[in-house]
């Protein structure tokens, strides 16, 4: 989870300049939308070169804890950025740009996922505090906003009669059972709920806070091919998402719930891609078909989100940033899945331009002759001496097979590397002599495959308006 040095608070003595702590906490409370916070020193963490803290969520260590404050000591270091994620939003504290004439601080709500990226050089020293809303604090009474009272009345008293349907408002932040209290609500939730509560009271309605647990389930029949799983076999949301969303809308599902659903879908897509980005090329490629299909469905479904332009931009930017998962030469169908009203978005235009440029470059590169058997564009996963010999042969134009006399452990390693890389090479072990020999062959029909690929690139380039 983490690789850091740690000093417990009992071994630390902090001496604040007069008014400094109070000023800092006032700034933090204001920025986070809270009335007041108190800070409890948690520890001092020291990150040396290569050290990190993997993505995690802080636990609530004190009653009333809502957030975490980190204070970065001005020690010289490179790397070690703090990345904070809330839903589909993300923020960073780039402490390597530290100004030596100041201490940098960053506060974030405790439900945010966050990580510290590896320090490359120097020492990153951080004081960490738990931020607590004082027990005496209570949400103040607000004057009910007339427009909100009217809207709530329309919802809960349609045609003057009380509705038998409860109305549910989903909060932005996550809460634990202990943390779900009116006075401990976070960020935007805090003010929105206060406004709703005042309006509800005026109408004689009762509002409750409740934990909603969302259970996602799908069949766990993973397809077994060789030794790896096809992790994208099931979509991370209901099948045929655009149809499902359309049906929800037709059934009168409130727009706010639809927005929440689509925001979750986008977050799930991004989260699953982050997982896949760490996989081997073979695993990533095996999931390509589903990844492309489900991402295209998501692009279509986002047309039903009220903040669709923002969501489309996020999705297009995400795809553009992850070329390992979304190869530019294969994005025609995904680009065409974005509805026409998304076409003018700069992020989508940027992605389209990059795809067209990649296709144009690929088409301008002369096709190798039929007797050229070199394999190109592979993402080799090992470059040890044995693997390097195989790579040099694979990238050479010759068509002959490669014979490697090797002991079993080395043969297995080379075969595993080829499997992880996802090469089209075939391997046989010739059990003669000592050691046995590993014989690797290049695929037949490579020239025909290249020709077919170029025809596809040409079609895609024209279909996307190239030239």
């Amino acid at each position: 989870m983490r690789d850091t040095g740690e000093i417990a608070p009992a071994a630390l003595a902090l001496h604040w300049a007069e008014g400094a702590l109070q000023g800092l906490l006032a700034d933090v409370a204001l920025a986070l939308g809270l009335d007041e916070v108190q800070a409890h020193l948690h520890n001092l963490l020291i990150y040396g070169p290569g050290q990190f803290f993997k993505q995690h969520q802080d636990t609530e260590k004190h009653p009333g804890m809502v957030a975490t404050l980190v204070l970065v000591w001005p020690s010289a270091h490179i790397g070690g950025a703090l990345r904070v994620v809330h839903g589909v939003d993300e923020g960073r504290l780039q402490s390597q740009h530290l100004q030596v004439d100041s201490l940098r601080w960053c506060a974030f709500y405790a439900d945010c996922q966050h990580e510290v990226l590896p320090v490359q050089e120097g020492w990153r020293v951080v004081l960490s505090f738990d931020l607590v809303v004082p027990a005496r604090m209570r949400q103040g009474e607000a004057a009910a906003a007339p427009a909100l009272v009217r809207a709530l009345r329309e919802q809960c008293f349609p045609e003057g009669e009380p509705s038998t349907q409860p109305w549910v408002f989903l909060l932005d932040h996550e809460y634990t059972e202990h943390g779900l209290r009116w006075q401990l609500l976070k960020g935007l939730d805090r003010a929105r709920v206060a406004a709703l509560r005042s309006a509800a009271q005026q109408l004689g309605l009762v509002m409750h806070l409740a934990l909603a647990e969302i259970h996602e389930s799908w069949t766990a029949t993973l397809r077994y091919r060789g030794r790896w799983y096809q992790s994208e076999e099931r979509p991370p949301w209901p099948r045929q998402l655009p149809v499902f969303v359309q049906a929800c809308e037709a059934a009168g599902l409130p727009a706010v719930l639809l927005d929440q659903l689509l925001a979750q879908c986008l977050a799930l897509r991004i989260a699953r891609d982050r997982e896949q980005a760490t996989q081997t090329p073979t695993e990533r490629n095996s999931a390509w078909r589903w990844r492309a299909q489900y991402t295209a469905e998501l692009a279509q479904a986002l047309a039903h989100a009220s903040d669709r332009a923002k969501r489309w931009a996020r999705l297009a930017g995400h795809v553009h940033m992850h070329a390992g998962l979304y190869p530019l030469l294969r994005l025609r169908q995904l680009l065409q899945a974005f509805p026409p009203q998304a076409a003018d978005l700069p992020d989508l235009q940027g992605l389209r331009a990059a795809v067209l440029q990649a296709l144009a470059q690929a088409l301008q590169t002369p096709q190798p002759p039929a007797d050229d058997h070199r394999l190109q564009g592979l993402e080799w996963t090992c470059r040890c001496k044995d693997c390097q010999a195989v790579i040099a042969w694979a990238e050479a134009p010759d068509g002959y097979s490669l014979t490697l006399p090797m002991a079993e452990a080395r043969r297995s390693h080379v075969q595993e590397m080829l499997r992880r890389t996802g090469t089209p090479l075939s391997c046989d072990t010739v059990k003669q002599g000592s050691p046995y020999k590993l014989v690797i062959k290049k695929p037949a029909g490579l020239h025909a495959q290249r020709s077919a690929q170029r025809r596809q690139w040409q079609e895609d380039w024209e279909a996307l308006g190239g030239g």
Binding site: L32, W73, L103, P254
Partner: protein
Amino acid sequence: MPSPEPDLSPILQALTRLAADGASAQSGQAGAGDQARFMAQGQLPLDALSVQVQGVGALSQPVLPE
């Protein structure tokens, strides 16, 4: 001032307007939360804090150029 999305329910439109107007939805608080973020960052002067580590001494600070 951003106007609420027309697709939002009337309740959300009202909440969005409250945030945009900065109308006080909580006594003594700013608006309906348009300033509230999930994270915030800032700076403090170097002399705002000194730290003593038991058995080690004071955490050193960089020497500022003249």
